[in-house]
């Protein structure tokens, strides 16, 4: 298989919904038939395995970063055919992680996948930089408010300095407030397209509370619609989301069905 695309999902600021986007984007790509692995790069605050309720993950990316295991031993099945490399929950192990190994680990995954989605650590420390520099491109997740914008601009600058291309922006948790930053203003500041604009959606928290992905539990939700927009962008093709049938169309189709000849 030709080398796949490695895409870092980054934001700088924590709490932007980056992990939810990374996980559900990976699931959406897999659901569209693309061999995809999602890597939890937030090694100090692991979340992907917890979000999916992975019951047993004895080998994680921590083991690979300590040289105790190969990354292939840390791959687990997720929904819709996606593969997950979770991070561990141990505080003790964090001190012994060798972030220099992260890029090699991701390269190995790249050989076997069409897409490797790296859920980046927030901030700009070693862990975050290891995630960012392991990728060819970054999809920036930000909330439409100044603090998130400021941190995202710093990530963009560092990404470009390290030769990682900014592929697109995902604005997440739009509340419809007057003071929110507009998508076209973000496009101007980042010189990059907003590929998905996702409204605040309580279904994301509801799904997380039950340790399921929103893509699986609430496929018709606004959040998943936004994920579908980002998926379409990455696949460079026609929209992948289903057209929601409204009442008018349903009634029309019902009436038409009555007149169809058998």
């Amino acid at each position: 298989m030709a080398n796949g695309r490695v895409i870092a999902i980054a934001s700088g600021k924590g709490g932007t919904g980056k992990s939810s986007v990374a996980l559900n984007l990976g699931i959406a790509l897999a659901a569209n038939g693309r061999k995809t692995t999602v890597v939890d790069g937030d090694v100090t605050m692991a979340s992907l395995g917890v979000m999916l309720g992975l019951k047993r993950s004895p080998i994680t990316i921590h083991n690979a970063l300590m040289g105790e295991a190969s990354v292939s031993e840390a791959i687990y099945d997720g929904p819709k055919g996606v593969k997950i490399v979770p991070a561990g929950l141990s505080l003790e192990r964090i001190k012994r992680l060798d972030f220099e190994k992260f890029k090699t680990i991701v390269s190995e995954l790249q050989q076997e996948n069409e897409f490797v989605i790296v859920d980046c650590a927030p901030g700009l420390e070693k862990d975050a930089m290891a995630c960012l520099t392991s990728a060819h491109e970054v999809l920036m997740v930000l909330n439409p408010e100044p603090a998130s914008l400021a941190d995202a601009l710093k990530v963009k600058a560092l990404a470009e300095k390290n030769g990682v291309k900014l592929a697109g922006l995902v604005t997440n948790m739009r509340m419809g407030e007057k003071a929110e930053i507009r998508n076209e203003e973000l496009e101007k500041l980042f010189s990059c397209r907003v590929v998905a604009s996702i409204p605040f959606d309580p279904n994301v928290k509801k799904a997380a509370a039950t340790q399921h992905a929103a893509f699986v539990k609430y496929p018709e939700s606004a959040f998943v619609q936004g994920i579908s927009e980002a998926t379409t962008f990455l696949l460079g093709g026609k929209p992948v989301k289903k057209v929601k049938k409204g009442i008018v169309r349903k009634v029309f189709e019902s009436i038409s069905a009555l007149f169809k000849k058998n």
């Binding site: 601009l153 739009r174 007057k178 507009r182 203003e185 101007k188 989301k241 289903k242 057209v243 409204g246």
Partner: protein, 138 residues
């Protein structure tokens, strides 16, 4: 609000396509004219009108039939961007000349939207209290 122009689409039914997506399509198509859409949202029926010159939104207006709330300019633009994807409605697309769009906005300046294209990065950063970032990112 706008003069009669050349109808590109009239009474088109929209299901599962939000006003924001329709706006994106007009931006890609580089519309000069306006779109008028009536949507049933969770807040009741709402009317929106947005005018464009070469795909750049110039003005926006929206009115909620139930509450009689009217929004103009930036607020209406944001209401369009944030309209729920559960909305269902109809829309018209009308082509106008650039002069006609400018004249209509001149008559009702409160509906004007400042396109981001007209603002510098510095101006945008300053508006959001990020003037200190201008040196590095403006």
């Amino acid at each position: 609000m706008f003069p009669t122009g050349k109808a590109i689409k009239s009474g088109e039914l929209s299901e599962g396509t939000t006003p924001a997506e329709i706006v994106k399509q007009m931006q890609s198509a580089k519309l000069t004219g306006y779109i008028a859409f009536t949507f049933k949202t969770k807040n009741g029926f709402e009317d929106y009108v947005a005018a464009f010159i070469n795909g750049q939104m110039q003005s926006a207006f929206c009115e909620n039939f139930k509450t009689k709330t009217k929004l103009s300019g930036e607020q209406a633009f944001k209401a369009i961007e944030n309209c729920s994807n559960e909305a269902i409605g109809f829309f018209d697309i009308v082509s106008l000349s650039e002069e006609q769009v400018k004249l209509a906005i001149a008559v009702r300046p409160e509906i004007k939207v400042a396109p981001a294209a007209d603002q510098t990065k510095e101006e945008i950063l300053k508006r959001y209290g990020l003037a200190t970032l201008v040196e590095n990112y403006g």
